[in-house]
């Protein structure tokens, strides 16, 4: 089945206030961000999407795929699921090795030749994590960052779904710039939950959450799109500093002042 759009029909926040929209429709290649303070309901919002909520979750929202109520097949058969969801979790509970786990998931998702897909997945993960993942390690032995990197790679390569949900991709110290760059090669609907200004302004529009409900929808203006480039410069400086410190270098006030001046 070809996925063309996903629609979110409004529901309620924690104190019963209504989402500030009737319907949001996302078409192929749309990118949106969900932003808001911690605890404002961002994860709950994309959970609704991942679960194909049908007024049966605490928020009362409803999800349509191609303007229709999604078939049970989407939930019951992972190889038909049009959604890949990178949850906020930074640990695995599975007692399997990375290899065994990925193999099984490739089979379930029916994503193609096992060896090739596995290699692609690990390659993707290792580009955004610090120390490479060893396929013989147990999933539970991976670090927080490695886990996150593997989850993102798994969702994109093995999940290979037209709709991708990402809950705080910037978490756990993975290489976020690289991750975004890799993701941009794919034509999909992306829904980011994020606290990161750069990711937020990269999207077509952003939903602002408050007390469990969407309080505002803001379309990214041309002005803001221009500002992203400037933000990226500041952001890259911070990332560079982080890398220097992580690799054991020292920094000085002079160095920072110079860097800021070149900006």
């Amino acid at each position: 089945m070809k996925i063309e759009s996903i629609t979110i029909q409004n529901g309620f926040g924690r104190d019963g206030q209504k989402d500030n929209f009737k319907e949001i429709k996302l078409n192929m290649c749309n990118i949106i961000s969900i932003v808001g303070p911690t605890g404002s309901g961002k994860t709950t919002f994309i959970n609704d999407i991942a679960l194909f909520a049908d007024k049966n979750t605490p928020s009362g929202r409803r999800i349509l795929i191609n303007n229709e109520i999604p078939s049970d097949e989407f939930m019951n058969n992972p190889s038909c699921n049009p959604i890949s969801y990178i949850t906020q979790h930074t640990n695995f509970l599975s007692d399997l090795s990375v290899k065994a786990f990925l193999e099984t998931h490739i089979k379930i998702r029916n994503s193609g030749a096992i060896d090739i897909i596995m290699e692609k997945t690990l390659d993707f993960a290792n580009q955004i994590t610090g120390e490479p993942i060893i396929i013989w390690s147990k999933m539970t032995e991976l670090s927080g960052g490695q886990t996150r990197a593997l989850l993102i790679a798994d969702a994109v390569i093995i999940g290979n779904s037209p709709i991708i949900l990402l809950d705080e991709i910037e978490n756990a110290g993975i290489n976020r710039t690289k991750a975004l760059e890799l993701l941009r090669n794919y034509e999909k609907i992306f829904i980011f939950v994020t606290h990161d200004p750069r990711i937020t302004l990269l999207s077509d529009y952003r939903l602002i959450m408050k007390k469990g409900a969407i309080s505002k929808i803001i379309i990214t203006s041309e002005e803001e799109k221009k500002a992203v480039q400037k933000i990226s410069i500041v952001d890259d400086l911070l990332l560079e500093l982080r890398n220097l410190l992580r690799s054991g270098e020292k920094i000085s006030e002079k160095f920072i002042t110079e860097q800021i001046q070149t900006i």
């Binding site: 679960l51 979750t57 979790h89 599975s94 786990f101 089979k107 989850l151 969702a155 999940g159």
Partner: protein, 232 residues
Amino acid sequence: MKVVICAGPPTSGKTTVIKQVISRLQKKNINPCYLKIDVLFADEDLIISQEFRIPARKVYSQDLCPDHCNVIVLGDAIQWGEDIGSDIIIIETAGLCLRCSPYIENSLGIVVLEATSGMNLPRKIGPMLSLADVAVVTKIDLISQAEREVFRANIMEAASVSIIETDALHGINIDHIIRIIDRMDSYSAPSLLRGNPPVGTCTICVGKKEIGKEAHFGVLRPLESDIFYRGE
């Protein structure tokens, strides 16, 4: 009356799921009653009768094998539900040794498994899973989508049951269970256990300590030949 029997390892979320089911049944004006069968301690009867104002009770198997206790008590339990005029009795069992299964014919058998319990669990619990009608996987809010899908595949490999994944704290997907309950048939006697219990040496269970086949009855076996039966 309909009969639902709900089994699963300790703390897998049986009570949490049942509470969500009860609240939805009540909204449809269906009157449930509840029984917990446990080994040494349970407080669900109080919790459920207070929260939902429905008849709820418990029974301890104590020194009796809990699976054995379950089989013996079920007859009276169903009678109790009929007598008080309930539309449905929900029985939560615990302490199973994993060789028995508590499910009977003419009822709905639900096994509750937690998604956080390790990928091999479905292979380890035998008839508790394979003889159930529905496997409810709880705590999906605590794991990634990838792990959820692999866990589901491991269940499907071990048994042909319907699978319902839930975050039971928030009642996610519980309406799928309600749909199955809506469609199920009412109980009719007689009803037998679905599985064959493991061969038991129940004279020992009840405390006969002497060794040697001469001291026992039921299913016995000598060292040199196959099992045989002595008794009525």
